[in-house]
């Protein structure tokens, strides 16, 4: 027979787990949507951005003449967008453009540099 104390503690554990998953699923919880640094994958560098309310996300940089239409990311789970860009070895500066207008400083990058126009460019190092 289960004691009253063990039933109570089980109940609290179940409730805690349920609350955790509800929060994680219903909000843009950082637990599930940690920003990911650009990283090398087969065929290039994978760029990712988590941005709520985005209808489109593009990665722009010195590798595509800062074109907002050249490299559009694909929507993944929830608010996460990602895509692979073929890049040669060396350093590349980049930013994200959300909904074709909003320039977003990368939340994670190998380095950051001033762009001269009051913002920061992310730097990705390709080996």
């Amino acid at each position: 027979m289960c004691s009253r104390e063990s039933i109570t503690s089980c109940f609290f554990v179940v409730v805690a787990v349920a609350v955790f998953w509800l929060l994680a699923a219903c909000t843009s919880s950082p637990l599930l949507t940690l920003p990911v640094s650009p990283h090398q994958v087969e065929g290039g560098v994978e760029f990712s951005l988590v941005h709520s309310g985005a209808q489109s996300v593009a990665v722009v940089g010195d590798f595509n003449d800062w074109s907002r239409s050249s490299h559009l990311l694909a929507r993944k789970d929830g608010d996460r967008w990602s895509g692979v860009v073929p890049l040669s070895s060396g350093e590349h500066v980049f930013m994200f453009v959300v909904n074709g207008e909003q320039w977003v400083v990368p939340p994670v990058a190998d380095d950051y540099v001033e762009d001269g126009f009051g913002q920061k460019n992310g730097v990705v190092v390709v080996r």
């Binding site: 940690l34 920003p35 640094s37 990311l73 350093e91 590349h92 920061k120 390709v126």
Partner: protein, 315 residues
């Protein structure tokens, strides 16, 4: 010679200066910039004034690529030509200073290899733009040892020094470290890695002035950046924010430098991988699509496609 022939020769001669002027800058880049400017509603005169800076660079034998790229970046980001003007003017000045300091180093100072090297010039100009002074570069060249550094390693060393300064380490303390790295024969990518790791661990260096000495001793032992900072990686330290953008930290350390930012490798976990279809490729009507074509396309313009405008390729 009849009247028509004279008229024809006159017409050709009149057009020569215009043609040579236009041919100096890459036509595709000029077209792109003009299109960007028009799309943003800027007068062609103000765009031409921007292009004059790139033209100046070419006339002085300087690489125009970083300037063209910066103009494109500024226009794409919605900056007015008036706002872009001082930025590209500074770039031209930095490129000029970079070439001078590299030539000095090669001719009699610390360096070797007197050939013009646009990649070294671009990297050195970036270092100067990020806060390294010409005097510090000269000092770095001396610190690296006479005859040990060439133009390229000096330029990458200067860029590494720029990062250490961005970490809040004073130039006087950063020069001996990077200088020792030059003495130890660090490759260009190792010089950048060293500067980047110091910047990434900026908090440690600002909190403990002896930390930079520890790094110098490790460099003297011949250790490379991967090993020097291995302990921090294993222990999960790296107090510079692990590559996350940290504006607070920025503000604190900007007392010493204008370019504070923590850097580093963050979470590198994988995810779904989708190759992005390059619309540029489609627009340009290339028959074959794919990454190799895209890469070739970049290479067509500047040889080295990496770090366009940054001279960032490293070995």
């Amino acid at each position: 010679m009849n009247r028509w022939q004279v008229w024809l020769i006159g017409l050709v001669m009149a057009s020569v200066p215009q043609v040579s002027h236009a041919a100096s800058l890459p036509t595709k880049d000029v077209q792109d910039i003009n299109q960007l400017g028009q799309a943003r509603g800027h007068a062609s005169e103000s765009i031409n004034r921007l292009l004059e800076h790139a033209q100046q660079a070419i006339e002085q034998g300087l690489p125009e690529r970083p300037i063209m790229n910066k103009i494109k970046e500024g226009l794409a980001k919605g900056a007015s030509p008036e706002r872009i003007q001082p930025v590209v003017r500074d770039m031209v000045r930095n490129l000029r200073d970079a070439r001078e300091v590299l030539q000095d180093a090669a001719s009699g100072g610390s360096g070797q290899g007197g050939t013009d090297n646009s990649r070294a010039t671009e990297v050195m100009a970036e270092a100067l733009g990020r806060g390294v002074t010409v005097d510090e570069v000269r000092s770095l060249g001396r610190s690296g040892g006479k005859g040990r550094v060439n133009q390229e390693t000096l330029a990458f060393g200067a860029k590494g020094l720029a990062m250490t300064k961005e970490a809040g380490v004073p130039g006087t303390e950063g020069i001996p470290v990077i200088g020792e790295a030059l003495r130890q024969g660090f490759r260009t990518n190792e010089l950048l890695d060293l500067g980047r790791e110091i910047k990434k661990h900026g908090n440690e260096f600002r909190a403990d002035r002896n930390r930079i000495q520890e790094v110098k001793k490790a460099v003297e032992r011949g250790e490379r950046p991967g090993k020097i900072f291995e302990r921090d990686r294993q222990s999960g330290s790296g107090k510079g924010g692990g590559g996350r953008e940290s504006r607070t930290e920025d503000r604190e350390s900007s007392k010493k430098s204008d370019h504070e930012r923590s850097g580093g490798n963050g979470d590198r976990s994988g995810g779904d991988r989708d190759r992005i279809e390059s619309r540029e490729q489609i627009d340009r009507g290339r028959e074959s699509r794919g990454s190799s074509d895209f890469r070739r396309d970049r290479g067509d313009r500047g040889g080295d496609s990496s770090g366009r405008g940054r001279g960032g390729r490293d070995d």
